[in-house]
């Protein structure tokens, strides 16, 4: 049971971690080049360099900043405002690096069967491909207005259902509604300028699968982001010259548009770490080239971070990894319980069988031979126990979603009616035992009647309790793959601790004086 528990818990957590990592890579690509809020100029040229690299599948520029989003709800003048992470992106190239296009949630059903599977209130039933196109281009096609895509949990209007789908809450189906985004531009000197705001129609919503992303992030077109944050192309004035009659300084050139991040996707088979090194080298070479070109009106930032997706999402992944390790350690304490149980049981056996141990010694059994008897039993118990534990864990994990679904549904009538029948049979056994006047049987049948009665009543009253409620937890499917490394490690640990638990009573048995054992045992 101990082994089964450890393997089940750690496997599910490992599965969850893998899902998290898999989703994480789909969100940010393989390698991320990040600069400060002042941004990197000439990103279009650097992107050309990147796309020319043999190991790069795609690259996309973006601006990552924070903002405030004024929501259309509630009705009336007082509107809710929420803080958001703003990603100003080029949606088309973003789709080549991340799963952005696939992550758009609102899309019409792919076929009649999919439509049939949806709830009658599901808005997707009435959607057209237009909403997908709007999301993919971040443009409201109908009006030609730049649009915004919200993370699925940015709005309170989306209520997650037990099957993982969403239904609008309070009537707030966000696509089509306008929201106001406010951002604060920061100059290259780090000075904060006047906040700027823009109204965007919501064109779609995005479900990446990671709650931390989906409840914060919004996507707007890159050009809109650059303009709002004053990172767009702008005239360069000669402030040393005399201004004209209107007080304007002469224009001597243009400063290039900037971005704060570049996401890079590796070709299949190329590791993120290898690509990270290549991108870092490419950036250094590119920055040197730009900075040595005196015709340029801007220089490349001195410091940029080039990180793999795993390093970038460390804050997200590390806590889950730590949780898993903590669970592993905590549950591994069960080993001590296991060793303690074997120790106490074997100790009792040694005390009980002292005379038999004396007999064995009298017929020539050595001390080591006596010790080996107990160690061998400890080993056999460990091997059988661990083997059964791994088997039980495998059965539970492979069927965890079915089990979860069964727990989350009403108990079938046949089960609870059958339980009541068994309760009745136990009660009859109880009456018979009372008639026969056997105390032990009375107690056992009484316990049986009570336990079966409780089970039957519990099943009859059970109307489904989802442990991992998808409306609360962020995954619809519980990971159902056994973590075999953990399974074998745990099983070996179980055997080792069983033998350790047996070793102490085994030593005591070996130390028994055969004369004492035969005389007083």
């Amino acid at each position: 049971m101990c082994v089964a528990m450890v393997v089940t818990v750690v496997s599910v957590m490992t599965g969850f971690l893998d899902m998290l990592k898999s989703s994480g890579r789909q969100i940010v690509g393989d390698v991320i080049v990040s600069s400060g809020i002042a941004g990197m100029p000439y990103s279009d040229e650097f992107l050309v360099d990147l796309k020319g690299m043999t190991d790069v599948q795609g690259a996309t520029p973006l601006i990552d900043t924070i903002g405030l989003l004024r929501m259309p709800y509630p009705r009336g003048n007082m509107k809710e405002v929420t803080h958001v992470q703003v990603w100003a992106v080029d949606p088309l190239s973003l789709a080549t690096v991340t799963d952005y296009a696939n992550d758009l949630y609102w899309k019409p059903p792919t076929d009649a069967a999919a439509a049939k599977a949806m709830s009658s209130e599901d808005p997707r039933k009435t959607l057209t491909e237009g909403i997908v196109t709007d999301g993919k281009t971040l443009t409201q096609t109908r009006t030609g207005t730049p649009g915004i895509a919200l993370g699925m949990h940015v709005s309170i209007g989306n209520e997650r259902q037990k099957d993982g789908s969403y239904l609008p809450r309070y009537g707030w189906f966000m696509p089509g509604n306008d929201v106001t985004l406010t951002v604060v531009p920061v100059s290259s000197q780090g000075k904060i300028a006047e906040p700027r705001e823009q109204i965007f129609p919501v064109v779609n919503e995005v479900q990446t699968g990671i709650y931390e992303v989906d409840h914060l992030r919004v996507y707007i077109p890159l050009t809109e982001g650059q303009r709002l944050l004053r990172l767009d192309e702008a005239p360069l004035y000669d402030l040393n010259a005399e201004p004209d009659a209107q007080g304007r300084y002469p224009v001597i050139g243009k400063t290039p548009a900037r971005v704060t991040k570049i996401l890079v996707r590796a070709k299949p088979g190329v590791s993120a770490n290898a690509l990270r090194d290549q991108v870092e080298t490419a950036y250094e070479s590119f920055a040197k080239r730009i900075n040595e070109d005196h015709t340029r009106t801007a220089s490349m930032p001195e410091f940029v971070n080039v990180l793999t997706w795993e390093q970038q999402l460390r804050d997200l992944i590390a806590p889950v990894e730590k949780e898993r390790e903590m669970m592993r350690v905590l549950f591994s304490l069960i080993y001590l319980v296991c060793a303690g149980l074997i120790l106490s049981i074997f100790w009792s056996i040694v005390v009980e069988k002292t005379r038999d141990i004396g007999i064995l010694r009298s017929v020539g059994a050595s001390r080591l031979g006596v010790m080996w008897i107990f160690l061998r039993y400890g080993f056999i118990i460990g091997v059988f126990g661990s083997g059964l534990g791994v088997l039980l864990a495998w059965l539970v994990i492979r069927n965890i979603n079915a089990i979860h679904q069964a727990i989350g549904s009403d108990a079938p009538p046949i089960i609870w009616i059958g339980s009541f029948v068994l309760t009745g049979l136990c009660a009859m056994g109880l009456v018979y035992s009372i008639w026969r006047g056997r105390l032990l049987r009375i107690l056992l049948w009484l316990l049986g009647t009570m336990v079966m009665g409780l089970i039957a009543t519990g099943l009859a009253l059970h109307h489904g309790t989802l442990i991992w409620d998808p409306s609360v937890y962020y995954f619809t499917i519980v990971p159902d793959q056994v973590d075999w490394t953990t399974a074998w490690t745990t099983a070996i640990g179980g055997v080792v601790f069983s033998v350790i638990g047996a070793a102490i009573p085994a030593s005591k048995a070996a130390d028994i004086d055969p004369v004492e054992a035969l005389r007083y045992g």
Binding site: R355, I359, S362, V363, G364, S366, L518
Partner: protein, 241 residues
């Protein structure tokens, strides 16, 4: 004990077990109790020696010392088997001595209750090298139990047998490895007179076949079946008057 070279052939009478000045003291808390104060005993091969003594005289202690289950006090004399000292032996050598050279029969049988009659009888054969001894022990136990009239009881547990039957199983167990000496500690002490006589007949048969027997008893009538009787008094072996 295969490395020891016997100083005599089995057929010639010779000192098989010798105890010289054996002392044994037990400590019960802070109070030492000297049970044997210098016991001397020589048993020739093929002899049946009865050690007669009252309760608490140290008969069982002497038996345990002769059988290698216990050791004399430090500088408390010497015990030899076939000329080789066993009182200073340790570990594997002493285990081998108990397993191969001697057999124990106890007053209270001391059979393992979870094992069948047959398994109890072949127990010494299963100790040591399991794989090489098992088939030999099986054959030997089967033959002995058959000769003791227990062939119909092989699968029974000791709890399903009478006292006499249990003692016969115990004797079969003691003989399964064909030891040279049988040490019997009050073998009839827990049996009625008729059953006890049956057991003594059985021991006599074995003695007649050449087995050396050392038997401790408090009953002079039982001791009378032996070829030689010695008395144990005040912790020493004395010859009968």
């Amino acid at each position: 004990m295969a490395e020891r070279q016997p100083t005599h052939t089995h057929s010639d009478p010779h000192p098989l077990i010798e105890a010289r000045g054996v002392r044994k003291t037990y400590s019960f808390g802070a109070v030492p109790v000297e049970v044997l104060t210098g016991a001397d005993l020589t048993v020739q091969s093929g002899e049946w020696v009865a050690v007669l003594g009252s309760s608490g005289s140290g008969k069982s202690t002497l038996m345990h010392l002769l059988g290698g289950l216990d050791r004399p006090d430090k500088d408390g004399g010497e015990i030899r088997f076939d000329g080789q000292p066993i009182s200073v032996s340790h570990g594997k050598r002493l285990d081998g001595y108990r397993n191969k050279d001697i057999g124990f029969v106890f007053q209270f049988y001391h059979l393992l209750p979870e094992l069948s009659v047959f398994e109890n009888a072949m127990l010494p054969g299963m100790v040591g090298n399991w794989f090489t001894n098992r088939s030999k022990a099986r054959e030997s136990a089967s033959r002995l139990l058959d000769s003791f009239g227990l062939s119909h009881r092989l699968a029974h547990r000791p709890g399903q047998l009478s006292g006499g039957e249990r003692q016969r199983v115990a004797i079969a167990r003691a003989l399964v490895n064909s030891p040279r000496v049988l040490l019997a500690d009050e073998p009839t002490g827990n049996l009625d007179t008729k059953t006890g006589a049956g057991i003594l007949d059985l021991l006599a048969e074995r003695h007649a076949a050449g087995l050396t027997l050392i038997m401790v008893t408090h009953d002079p009538a039982v001791a009378a079946r032996a070829t030689r009787v010695v008395k144990l008094a005040n912790g020493r072996v004395v010859q009968p008057s």
